[in-house]
């Protein structure tokens, strides 16, 4: 069982590597490539699902980087939620790309890196200590870069470089924090000592512990509390780069739209959540929520989140290009999550995790719908899809349902996460921020309605622009449509009956607070 953790991580990486390095000649035609890719998607996903569905608490120590710090995996409920979301979106966006990528070159390379990214993400979700997580975090940046750069145009190359530049800048900030935290990590009894493997009685392996591993007594004694807060803030901002948090969000609206649509869906829906996971692990499993509560770090973090969420929405409202609009929307929505996390209480935490799941599903559905529209019409502006609702009713209905979900209209899902977030904000006791948070959430929801709904309204109710829109548009192919329908159904059903998910998250929150 424990080895399956390793298999679920390594298997997609190996298959992806093979896929990249196999010469093109091996595949007689496109369909044989797709068959092989499809099977490898399924196998990778199965391995991951096997691990996720197993009990929490399985651990695996791979090897030791240095004498004390191992590469260490552990399955807990938080990792299971993230990994489950990743698998779900990975499969659907993957199958979607079978049709979508028929227009693009270098398909094999794309599928290869897509699989590798999936494996690395599994590693990120299952990481059991800070260093392992950091390793996979950096891998994730590197292996997802080829997805951004895929088209190879100058724009894509520049976007990918920007992506790397920002991500590494953030990662180094975080690395500083990791070095600092290591000094004050509580020492645990060495599990290997009993087997006679190593010399140390105790190790500081920086293992994730609900409530934090920080040895607070030692920290206070050393008088470095203020310095520690700075380090934690740097870690939050650093990992926040991946989550598109102001001020280091600018890579996101540049990098996501240039990728092929299924890759954008995966980047915007899933990979950015890597940053969120890293922040959750740092704040709640390394430092501890109590340590930050009431400090300037919490205030600054909440302010950054509020600024980002308003900024993202208003820029999305102003943006004309469909995919870029959705990317700005991602900036805004990730800050909902960060705002919730910054409140450091159970309700807001629940709201954040709910929004992680809902946003992953909704944003992938939106990007896939945008991809399907761009694929069938060849147009990229948000106002170009007038009157298409009659021709592609299923696609537009799915788009509308997930849009309503993102705005937060019952009975779709967004309202539930928003409810918990707002209640958490009001309970936080942060003074003005406690009501500014919900107010910002609602203003942002209004703007969300302003940038998503006109596309539906134009699609369904306006007459098509006959100069520009050909008459023979049909629903996209089934392989494109079905993933979108599944995602939309999930967004709706999770909103209608979220109780199991909420219970699972409550069990996590119960351990943290």
């Amino acid at each position: 069982m424990n080895d399956m953790i390793l298999v679920s991580i390594i298997l997609p990486i190996i298959i992806g590597g093979i896929l990249i390095f196999l010469p093109d000649k091996i595949f007689a035609d496109r369909s044989s490539l797709l068959k092989m890719t499809g099977v490898s998607f399924a196998v990778s996903a199965l391995a991951a699902v096997y691990v996720i569905s197993g009990a929490a608490g399985n651990t695996l120590t791979l090897f030791r980087l240095v004498s004390e710090v191992p590469v260490y995996f552990a399955i807990d409920n938080l990792g299971r939620i993230f990994a489950g979301t990743v698998v779900f979106v990975f499969l659907l966006a993957g199958f979607f790309s079978f049709v979508y990528m028929s227009h693009e070159k270098n398909e094999k390379r794309y599928y290869g890196f897509y699989l590798i990214t999936f494996g690395v993400l599994m590693g990120l979700c299952f990481s059991g200590n800070l260093v392992t997580m950091y390793l996979f975090y950096e891998f994730m940046t590197l292996v997802s870069m080829p997805l951004v750069i895929h088209s190879g145009t100058k724009e894509a190359v520049m976007a990918a470089l920007k992506y790397l530049f920002y991500s590494f800048a953030g990662a180094y900030m975080a690395l500083f924090g990791i070095y600092f935290l290591y000094q004050y990590a509580a020492a645990f009894e060495n599990p290997g000592a009993a087997l006679g493997g190593t010399y140390y009685e105790t190790v500081r392996m920086m293992e994730f512990v609900p409530g934090g591993f920080l040895d607070r007594a030692a920290l206070i004694q050393s008088g470095n509390v203020g310095f520690c807060l700075v380090a934690v803030f740097l870690m939050i901002v650093g990992f926040g780069v991946k989550a598109g948090c102001f001020p280091f969000h600018a890579w996101l609206p540049t990098a996501h739209p240039v990728a092929p649509a299924p890759a954008s869906a995966f980047l915007s829906g899933i990979i950015v959540k890597g940053g969120v996971l890293a922040i959750i692990r740092t704040v709640y499993y390394c430092v501890g929520a109590d340590f930050l509560r009431g400090t300037w770090v919490q205030t600054a973090w909440a302010i950054l989140a509020i600024v980002t969420l308003l900024m993202g929405s208003s820029l999305a409202f102003k943006e004309k290009i469909m995919k870029k609009r959705l990317a700005y929307s991602t900036v805004s929505n990730l800050s909902y999550i960060l705002l919730g996390l910054s409140m450091l209480n159970a309700a807001a935490f629940t709201g954040s995790l709910l929004h992680v799941v809902f946003h992953a599903i909704i944003k992938s559905a939106l990007f896939l719908s945008a991809g399907a529209l761009i694929f069938t019409t060849g147009r990229t502006k948000a106002n170009d899809f007038m009157g298409l609702g009659k021709k592609m009713p299923v696609l537009f209905w799915c788009y509308t349902i997930v849009s309503l979900g993102l705005i937060g209209i019952p009975p779709t899902s967004g309202i539930i996460s928003k409810w918990y977030l707002a209640v958490g904000c009001l309970e936080s006791g942060l003074g003005a921020l406690s009501w500014a948070g919900p107010a910002a959430l609602l203003i942002s929801a209004l703007l969300t309605a302003g940038y998503l709904l006109p596309i539906s309204v134009r699609g369904f109710l306006m007459e098509p622009d006959y100069d520009a829109v050909r008459n023979d548009y049909r629903e996209p192919q089934l392989l494109m449509l079905v993933p979108i329908v599944i995602l939309a159904a999930a967004a709706f059903l999770l909103g209608f009956y979220p109780t199991p998910l909420i219970r699972l998250i409550d069990s996590i929150a119960g351990g943290l607070f």
Binding site: P247, K318, I409, W419, Y420, V423, L461, Y497
Partner: protein, 752 residues
């Protein structure tokens, strides 16, 4: 079926079935769909009636649908909910009867029907909701599904109106949600029963900050609920949306959907801010502005349906005034009950203002306000169903709602005459019809409250009497404006009546066509209209037998209203005192009609001129929607936010660029200049840039490069070549020698 859940769920189930069935490709699909709609309406109505019967026979009703939507949906039953649930089902039933003919040849009927069913389910959910979250849940569904009604025609105007409708609905929904957050944060519950209890505890404990938060919450919720009701600052969507939606949909919008908004405000008033007089004052002001403004716009409009739309707004103003009066009266009642227990007061002469007789009297007044509000909602619902369906019948044949086109349509059509007259006179407050009853109740409650306040202010030197939020002068003004708006109602209804039934069309042929048309409405349509018109005279003539029991059954159960349970006595509606109010209104109405409509709106009317007729005389530039809301919310706010965001967005990028231009400069590759040297290159480059800048800023025309670098390089080469020749020449040597001699001389002079 003794379960409130099923009545809410049923339309959604029918809708799902309907979606599947409507895919079938049969010839009589339209007819079948219309029949399904009628059947669904009938079943829903039966279920709603069943609930009332169950309640009367003593079953307790209510249900929970836990875990749905995160917080679970909770339903409950009370008299008020029962009545309005029943009326909702009734309205849907009659409009589906009406739609059978009206929508026969319309486009997108299936879509219309589907959203109609969804809206029905959502509206039922609102009326039976037991907590604010359930209410909000269904309120949002209703807002979105009814959007399709407004956009139904898909014309430019319809889409514009629908855009406004959706914008206000979403903004209002978010405002309600904010209110919900605050209420949940402060009161710890969203269930209506416990909210009231917790609010009372909070108010009696008297924490100012908490109560202020409740006021903020109520204000937020007012934006959302008031928007649906059509209350003053957020009514802007109403006239256009009502005009653009198809007639049966407008009937429902005006009759039912506006009541959901009022229902929300009522719940906020009763459960979130019980006995807060300043909230009552706020509602009173809003109500007065709404009813006067709606009345004025109604009189001045030259469009049949728009007049009715503004009439709706005006009547909602009457209802809101009633809600405000309820709030004020509970505050007063609480005050004197509290003061009655104070012993110092009981020995003074003021004791008679707080004794049990006074309490009974105020309770009676309070009862009038409560009943008046409930009855006016009911009356307005019936009347607007009739009027909008009549408007639909007219539109079906005239193809326009313009008064000049419509003129003379009703002549020689007795059925139309009777129902229109009943409804128009009913809402106008003519005695013996329903509007008179409710308006009298509301008017009496205002007048009596004013009298008590006057007495109180006379004696207010003793500060032992309770402080109230309203002043006697204000209530006097409210009473005057109330009667004035009643007059406006009479005026615009007279206008419509005269246009339809008295005047002839300016085009003789058209008039002939109108008059010869006998089969202008099918039996089904007539039945639908008649069903709604029938109760109007009954409520009016037998107020103590029909109106009173309904109002009593529909009493909202909360705190002080328990006092009303057995204290309601028959009111002499047709006493001289009560009739005089109606007479004042009618007089005002007649005067306004002759001055505004006949003198100002009717211009250039003569048989020869076709252009003559009714003109809209309300100035066009006063358009709150276009010049304030759209301008601010669609343009200004996103613009400002956009600029700020754009700056924030590019902060890091700008820093990076600045750094690269200054400190972290990419080192230029060491390469040989093709011509010239560093100095000429730099100067030439700078000159070229300056010139480029000059052209870009000042001249704004095509820029042709002058190649300064090249020219300077040539000059430079020339200069250095010449210099080298000179350098090598004899004269240069002599020149240098002279310079040396000169320097030596200066040295000698200076040193010595």
């Amino acid at each position: 079926m003794r379960n409130t859940l099923w009545i809410v769920l049923f339309p959604f189930v029918v809708c799902a079935v309907f979606c599947i069935v409507s895919r079938a490709k049969t010839k009589d699909k339209r007819k079948a769909c219309a029949l399904v709609m009628i059947l669904a309406g009938a079943v829903e109505l039966a279920a709603a009636l069943n609930l009332i019967v169950c309640d009367l026979s003593g079953f307790s009703l209510g249900s929970t649908f836990s875990d749905v939507g995160g917080l679970g949906l909770h339903f409950m039953y009370s008299g008020f909910r029962g009545i309005f649930g029943m009326l909702t089902a009734f309205a849907w039933f009659v409009t589906s009867l009406f739609s059978y003919e009206y929508m026969k040849n319309d486009m997108n009927v299936i879509r219309y029907d589907i959203f109609n069913l969804l809206t029905l389910g959502a509206t039922m959910g609102i009326f039976y909701a037991a907590d604010l979250f359930t209410l909000f849940f269904f309120f949002e569904i209703m807002s979105f599904t009814s959007f399709v009604w407004v956009a139904h025609r898909q014309t430019r105007e319809a889409l514009y109106a629908a855009g406004t409708y959706l914008g206000i609905a979403i903004a209002g929904g978010m405002a309600i949600l904010m209110g919900l957050f605050i209420v949940y944060g402060r009161l710890g519950t969203l269930s209506f029963d416990r909210m009231y209890e917790n609010a009372m505890v909070m108010i009696s404990s008297g924490s100012k900050a908490d109560i202020r938060w409740l006021f903020v919450a109520a204000g937020c919720m007012f934006v959302g609920f008031g928007a649906k009701a059509g209350a003053f600052p957020v009514h802007v969507w109403l006239p256009e949306s009502y005009t653009e939606a198809p007639a049966p949909a407008t009937a429902l919008l005006s009759a039912i959907l506006s009541k959901t908004g009022v229902f929300g405000i009522l719940l906020v008033t009763l459960d979130v801010l019980p006995m807060q007089g300043s909230w009552g004052v706020f509602l009173l002001i809003v109500g007065i502005i709404t009813m006067v403004l709606g009345g004025i716009r109604g009189v001045m409009s030259s469009n049949f349906k728009t007049t009715l739309a503004y009439s709706s707004m005006s009547q909602i103003g009457f209802v809101l005034t009633g809600v405000g009066m309820q709030s004020l009266l509970t505050e007063y009642l609480m005050g004197i009950i509290g003061a009655g227990q104070a012993e110092e007061l009981l020995v003074t002469a003021d004791a008679r203002y707080v004794d049990s007789e006074a309490i009974a009297e105020i309770t009676r007044v309070f009862g009038m306000a409560v009943n008046g509000t409930c009855l006016h909602m009911l009356n307005h619902l019936l009347v607007k169903l009739v009027l909008f369906m009549v408007a639909g019948v007219i539109f079906k044949h005239v193809g326009s709602y313009e008064l000049n086109q419509v003129r003379g349509f009703g002549r020689k059509k007795p059925f139309l005459l009777v129902v229109f007259l009943l409804a128009a006179a009913g809402v106008g407050g003519i005695p013996l019809l329903n509007g008179y009853v409710s308006k009298t109740l509301l008017h009496e409650s205002i007048a009596e409250y004013g009298k008590w306040l006057e007495l109180m202010e006379y004696l207010s030197a003793q500060s032992l009497l309770p402080a109230v939020s309203a002043s006697a002068a204000m209530i006097k003004l409210v009473e005057t404006l109330f009667l004035f708006s009643g007059g406006l109602t009479v005026a615009y209804m007279t206008k419509l009546f005269v246009v339809l039934f008295v005047e002839k069309n300016s085009d003789k042929k058209t008039q002939e066509r109108y008059q010869t048309k006998k089969d202008y409405a099918s039996m089904l349509t007539k039945t639908a209209i008649a069903l709604c018109a029938l109760p109007i005279p009954f409520i009016g003539t037998l107020p103590n037998h029909v109106a009173k029991p309904v109002a009593e059954y529909g009493l909202m159960r909360f705190g002080l209203s328990d006092l009303l349970q057995h204290q309601q006595e028959n009111i002499h509606y047709y006493s001289l005192e009560n009739l005089s109010g109606a007479l004042i209104s009618i007089t005002v109405g007649v005067v306004v009609y002759f001055v505004v409509v006949r003198l100002m709106m009717l211009r250039g009317i003569s048989p020869h001129k076709k252009t003559g007729g009714y003109h809209d005389i309300f100035p066009r530039w006063i358009n709150l929607e276009r010049y304030v809301y759209r301008a601010v919310l669609y343009t200004a706010v996103p613009f400002v936010l956009g600029i700020i965001s754009r700056i924030l967005d590019s902060v890091v990028d700008i820093v990076v660029i600045l750094l690269r231009r200054t400190v972290y400069r990419d080192r230029a590759l060491p390469y040989e200049l093709p011509e010239g040297n560093r100095v000429t290159h730099r100067i030439g480059y700078t000159m070229e840039r300056v010139r480029l800048l000059y052209y870009a800023v000042m001249r704004k025309e095509g820029y042709k490069p002058k190649h300064y670098e090249h020219k300077l390089a040539l000059r430079g080469t020339d200069f250095f070549e010449n210099f080298r020749i000179i350098e090598r020449s004899l004269s240069f040597g002599l020149f240098m020698f002279c310079v040396g001699l000169g320097l030596t001389m200066i040295y000698l002079l200076v040193v010595n």
